[in-house]
Amino acid sequence: MDIVIKNLTKLYGAQRAVDNLSFEVKTGEILGFLGPNGAGKTTTMKTIAGYIKPTEGTIRVGRYNVETDADKVKQVIGYLPEHNPLYSDMYVVDYLRYMAQLQLLRADKINDRIYEMVNVCGLEGEKHKRISELSKGYRQRVGLAQALIHDPQVLILDEPTTGLDPNQIIEIRQLIRKIGHEKTIILSSHILAEVEATCDRILIINKGRIVADGTSDQLRKASSGCECVKITVENADRNDVVRVMQNIDTVELIDTMKDNPDSFEIQSKEGESSRRAIFNACVENGWVLTEMTPIETKLEDVFRELTK
């Protein structure tokens, strides 16, 4: 089931939480939603889940419009809200049963589904505990279990891995990857590595607007634009190296590095590559090239640049 969002705007008083946002998520795609705090991620997700109403714009999930077919949409969406609110007095199994009943699951299927969710989310040992006795990681799993209980085709997960330890984060990621094959998933996070590891596509928003949209590779390329390499040469005079490298046509600029006098950072002109020329220049001058590493732009840098 695909999701189409057109010109979504949400005003809180005079403040524009979401500003004319349009994007699509294809069936089976895992979309990572990135942005600094207050960028409008949560607002957008709440609107898709049908909890709050958009000021303007439309959201379509599959064939259904979120505003006019609200109940249908809510039945195909599994939603894990930010902060994962739970009834802390309830037992895990009772809670999952209540959520399943509210999704109007058939009574004879409910027990099977609960059993399955307990297994999938690793709640075997805690299923007869009260939710208030659970640690943050297990509470998060309960939240995920209730989002999945009716086998929804669309999953909206608002920061699903907050409060988990590294092992749990990896487990949850694998779980999301596993179920993501058949489902359409939107997940938000401010951990960039996580989004990179789990998502097919990344959407960065800032101040309610989209600032970047693409795979992590595309985003990196789009933001750096030109090739950048680090080289280390032995047996050479620093000044000679700088002079020779500057004479190469495709080199934009060369920087010496403070920590190691033999290392240099060379940036090529846009769309050009100078790795061959650098190698040849070293051979011609009899320098020993001991290192040549491409410097990749990190997603962190992309993020910082776009959301400044």
């Binding site: 889940a49 109403k53 109940d71 809200p81 609110p85 007095d89 209540y98 509210l102 209730q146």
Partner: protein, 239 residues
């Protein structure tokens, strides 16, 4: 309708799990029992086989206890954020409120059923006017329903249970006492309107065994107004 019932059942379970229901049942039965049978102007002082004494005691007890039952219902869901879980299921604000209303009214029905021994005892002491007893119970249910409506509205206004309790109490006391006082102090239109709004007069006439459409409309519209305002308030909070 199925969803309303699912929510109501869950609410009832939570009330019994958290001891809230037991405490209120004990308070209600203890209070009304003592003043009906043992102390003050009890049944033996009246010397009549009638439950009038019980009805007027229960009338006050329920007025005091219902805000305690309703205070948590919406306020707590909003404080913890669980309302978001509910409303992102195929559930509407109305269904949530009706479910909560139903659970509390069922608890009241249960409490009133537990007072049936009073009725049986009195019936074995003398000739009871069965019609009046049934009407008395109905009157108690009607007034509870109205106060639950008011309580749910108060609960939807705030995230704080104590404020919600005090608000419900403040609104209810107008219908319970203040409109009556105004009505008797002032004449003319103001006085008549106040008397019309006063719950006492409507309850009295039902408890005496006369079920008038005027009274039914009064209680039904109070209940509905409470639920309607609660729905509006809840919907505006999440918009």
């Amino acid at each position: 309708m199925k969803l309303v019932w699912i929510i109501a059942r869950q609410e009832l379970r939570m009330q019994f799990d958290s001891l809230m229901a037991y405490i209120l049942l004990v308070l209600f039965l203890g209070f009304s029992g003592i003043f009906t049978w043992l102390y003050g102007s009890d049944i033996f002082i009246y010397g009549q086989a009638s439950l009038q004494v019980f009805f007027s005691i229960a009338y006050i007890t329920l007025f005091l206890l219902i805000p305690a039952l309703t205070m948590k219902s919406v306020a707590e869901e909003m404080r913890t954020g669980t309302i978001e879980m509910l409303l992102t299921k195929p559930v509407s604000c109305w269904q949530v409120l009706l479910g909560k209303y139903l659970s509390i009214i069922l608890l009241i029905v249960f409490a009133l059923l537990l007072t049936l021994p009073y009725y049986i005892s009195v019936a074995s002491l003398g000739n009871v006017d069965h019609g009046a007893v049934i009407c008395g119970y109905l009157g108690l249910l009607f007034m509870s329903s109205a106060y639950i409506g008011i309580g749910l509205f108060a609960s939807s206004l705030t995230n704080n249970q104590i404020i919600s309790f005090l608000l419900a109490f403040a609104i209810s006391i107008f219908f319970h006492i203040i409109f009556g006082i105004i009505g008797h102090q002032f004449g003319g239109i103001v006085g008549q309107m106040a008397i019309g709004l006063d719950m006492d007069s409507h309850f009295e006439s039902i408890a005496r065994g006369v079920i008038d459409t005027k009274d039914i409309i009064y209680f039904a519209s109070l209940t509905f107004a409470g639920l309607f305002l609660a729905e509006r308030s809840l919907a505006s909070k999440i918009a």
